[in-house]
Amino acid sequence: MGEGAAKVGLARVGRLLRPVETIAYWLVVAPLLALLPAALAYRAACWRGDWTLRYWPEKRCEVVRNLRQVLGEELGQPETERLARDIFRIRTCEVIDLMRLRGRARSLRDLVEIRGGEHLDGALAGGNGAILCSAHFGSYMCAFSLLHAGGFPVTSIGRWWWNYPPGQSSVVRRLWDLIYARRVLRHRQRPNIEPWPGRVQVAVQAAAALRDNGVVTICSDAPPLDAERTRTIKVPFLGRQASLLPGVVTLARLTGAPVLMAFAHRSADYRHQVLEISPPVPMEGGTAAAFGQCVAAMDAAIRANPAEWDFWFEPDDLVRLGLLPGTSPAPAPDDSAGRTGELPQFSR
């Protein structure tokens, strides 16, 4: 048997084993790893990331292609390969973050330095709540959980893909509720606010949380659904004119809540993180101008730490955002997102 046939066989075995390995990692391995000392736990997570990189060559190629298409060919092959490796490692480490949210999240809190907490305190002193605008970047859901564990009443706006479409397998839904939502929602003031089409009450629910002087988090880099396309605006983002929803600005203006940018990024040892919270973003001028400042902050965060951004893994999302050429992916039957929305991805 030739070398080529062996590779094909290996790839086929990898395809069969990957879902099983993924479920085992989320359900068994990661919870156990999270009990170990942090240095050991995150090192093991990096090994698992490297293993996934090696045995999932088609996804590695896709990630490399996405990086080069969006960030430019000048990135260079070695740098792109290093970023791809980091992307796989970081995705795996984020599962450990989630598992370390147990109890009062002390075991994760010890690893995350929060900078700019005084900006959030100052914003809440105004009495209109505060909006934390972020991106699908770094361990953002766990970072928000840490803020809540630290005494800020946090409510999140975001789509959890396994909740829709309505025909979604109840096993899948229960699985992700069990291993993901349960852990996150323990550190939230209110249930997750999910802006799926037809849920017109979403903004009013967010306004109610702000009226109680709460912190509402929103990721403004979410790929728009087909039903939302008419409300997107074109803004400069990662070197292209991306289509994004400026809801954060509208919500801020209607409620009087200040908008602060928040990004968490991982240090070179993969276990320590920094969560940086900005001063309030000026909301003067038109919607496009105000939202442009939020997008510029997301752009800067992603360019500074490209491997932390989630969407390199998902070309369909990059197309929806207008960062990759191509027609918008076919909508799901209920016109909800094809798959993703709020992470985690099943492939982590």
Partner: protein, 89 residues
Amino acid sequence: MEEVINDYISRELVQDASLLPLGNATSLLETGILDSLSLLRLVVFVQQRFGVAVDDVDLVPEHFDSVDAISAYLRSREGGRAGQVVGHG
């Protein structure tokens, strides 16, 4: 009340001019006039204009699907009081 609400929605929320003039029975959800953020704008408007606080539990399509439905809901909330336009009249 219907006239005031219809006027506000027509001016502030309708983006597709082909939907104008807006009928009081026209579905705001089916025509896409009302989405999450425009509902918030509408709620802020009716609270300021008619002095009616809208409870979270009342945020159901039946109450906000048309100008007629909104008016009926507001009247039910405040009885006769909501029939009086507050503010600029």
